[in-house]
Symmetry: C2
DNA sequence: CATAAGAGTGAGCTGCTGCTCATGTTCGTC
DNA sequence: GACGAACATGAGCAGCAGCTCACTCTTATG
């Protein structure tokens, strides 16, 4: 399993090549979601895409490269979704803002929770993936920290720490809920998680013991 | 990769066989932690244990069986550690109780966070592992729910839900912190997480908007 | 139409995986 | 010390993984 460069060895120039590349990527998403990374073989991906294994290696230099590409797309889509939600305007109250974050995170997991699991938990060996993850996490934490700074209801002193706590909590619990919870409990879960975070944020720092 | 029964094909009867089995298991823990499950090969495990591959298959019917055994041990050790902590007596205040849970969870992750990740995130394909996980989680949630019920400071009405939220939050955030945080920030993290949970638990259910 | 480059193919190579089994070594028991 | 059972060995097998490459088909362009 030699490490190969992750950039495509050939860029598609005709439309059908673009389509082929897309079909391969979509098939990879399905195959990884269904079989996991180790058992999601490149031959299976090519077959699921309705193409030969040769075509796959025309556009992706290695199996890892497909994974990284998929993860990159997923992250970018997540950011785009948040932008779209923010286009309607940022709500006023702290609970509403927190709820917005929770819903945005729920959205980005809903599509294919299994794929999400594979991308960001099972197969985080390729260094490029780790970089991507850390980078996007840092971006999100930064944005949340700014959001908190502009919100008078927030009483925490260390906003960087608070932002990291919020992001980690939302990300982790949403992930767990999508995986194990029932869809009809979503409203309940949203409310519960939002309540927890709002309480945390609006409590002064040296938490008074009981 | 045919599915084989997970029980040992031969029980050790002499002391040296017991030792061999232990060495193999310990080596597996190291190898899985270092290489992950897919690349943590049985040959590598045997080599790391200083035994031949044949010996490995005397005591474990398959690679999956080793994983499941390792996970089972890890879970049992976790329970035992909590029992030990509780032997000193259950503290009075809610914050102290929550802090105890947080510390117990920190303990069980500290040993080898990478192994923990492999066992409970990367390689959760074998059905036996899933059963183990769900079972132990249910046990923990049940215990926490009872603990909450006996605590007057808790104002949540749905204690089952609250218990699930607490367990999920502690488990997830501790895991994240161990993986990414710096050891010298542990006290800070403990306090922050405890504060968050205590605030959540001691707030009445229909969270008043701001 | 000619033609060159782009796109697509799939048999098959290399390497490594989980695992077997025929054989050798050590132990407990008499 | 003899002898059977328990223990340990490791060359090697079957199978499949990622990936290559010599080849064919399609398309854009003159």
């Amino acid at each position: 399993m030699p490490r190969a460069p992750l950039r495509p060895r050939k860029a598609p120039r005709q439309q059908r090549a673009v389509d082929t590349r897309r079909r391969l990527l979509d098939a990879a998403a399905h195959v990884f979601a269904e079989f996991g990374y180790a058992r999601g073989t490149t031959n299976r991906i090519a077959e699921a895409a309705g193409h030969s294994i040769g075509s796959l290696y025309q556009y992706f230099p290695s199996k890892d490269a497909i994974l990284v590409e998929l993860a990159t797309e997923h992250v970018h889509e997540g950011f785009a979704a948040v932008q779209r939600r923010l286009a309607d305007g940022l709500p006023d109250s702290l609970p509403a803002k927190v709820l917005l974050c929770v819903r945005a995170t729920l959205d980005s997991h809903r599509g294919s929770p299994e794929l999400h699991r594979v991308l960001f938990e099972e197969a985080l060996r390729p260094p490029e993936l780790l970089h991507l993850l850390r980078g996007s996490e840092a971006t999100v934490v930064g944005a949340v920290a700014e959001l908190l700074a502009a919100e008078p209801a927030v009483r925490r002193t260390d906003l960087g720490l608070a932002a990291r706590m919020v992001v980690a909590t939302v990300e982790s619990l949403v992930h767990r809920f999508i995986g194990w919870g029932r869809p009809e409990d979503t409203d309940r879960f949203e409310a519960e998680l939002t309540a927890m975070l709002v309480q945390y944020l609006s409590t002064p720092d040296p938490a008074p013991a009981n």
